[in-house]
């Protein structure tokens, strides 16, 4: 095993963190709002140590925030680390939307030429 070097969490780390179905389940539960760890354990039907392990991974990449309220540990969602991925996809889509809009103009011209020349083979 390659030893893990301490470093800042990256988008890739956040993405890897949600590659695990249980962790996605946790985030899904937290979409509705802040929850104490005991509630998460009950709803996931998992042993506390496993839930804690997943929560630790999510916390390390910044996808959940935690605070103490009395004797409860409260977990809250933070989707910020995933935003670059959504942005990447939106940018990609925009690039192609722009290209295809220009292609519409090219096609309108081709159609006009075809009809003008009387070579419409359709």
């Amino acid at each position: 095993m390659i030893p893990r070097v301490a470093r800042a969490a990256t988008t890739t780390d956040a993405f890897n963190a949600i590659a695990e179905p249980r962790r996605r389940q946790i985030l899904d539960l937290l979409v509705t709002g802040e929850l104490p760890v005991n509630d998460l354990v009950a709803r996931l039907d998992l042993a506390q140590p496993q839930v804690s392990k997943h929560l630790r991974v999510l916390r390390e990449v910044g996808l959940v925030d935690v605070r103490d309220e009395g004797r409860q540990r409260m977990y809250r969602l933070n989707g910020g680390p995933l935003k670059p991925i959504a942005d990447w996809l939106a940018t990609y889509e925009q690039t192609w939307t722009g290209r295809f809009d220009r292609m519409d103009a090219v096609l309108a011209e081709l159609k006009q030429k075809e009809h003008g020349d009387g070579h419409d083979d359709r």
């Binding site: 949600i18 979409v31 991925i85 996809l89 295809f100 083979d121």
Partner: protein
Amino acid sequence: MDMTTGSRRAVVALPSDTQILITREFDAPRHLVWRAWTEPDLIAQWWYAERGEIVSIEMDLRVGGKWRYVMRASGGFEVAFHGECLEIVPDEKLVSTEVYEPVPHESAVNTATFTEHDGTTTLTLLVEHASQIGRDMHVNSGMEDGLQDALKLVDRLLASLAE
């Protein structure tokens, strides 16, 4: 879906961990969409991205023929893509490889298909990365349920943030 002329969104989907699928309808017969897709002087009129201009477009439309598109971005630097034509069915299908030159080891296979219904042509472009690369680029090997699921979750998370 809005079927009138004017701006139509390109629909981008991620069917698997290694694929990107882009779909768009055009108000034109497919032999013209094919021409716009394959003839260099026509490609040059639409392929550039926002804030970029075309430097050169080469397309040798034969099996084994090479293509290369070069664009100059607003910062002045040039970006180039190239590849080879693998399969050509005129007006119907073009399969080619694509390499983004700064990352030459990450080759993809693009399959463009053209289908026509009542004068409307649907173009689908399937971008398939080599499995290893797709995995390395986007996710680790642990992505059991696919990128699409993960992105749906991302959407939900971001929607919850916006509230």
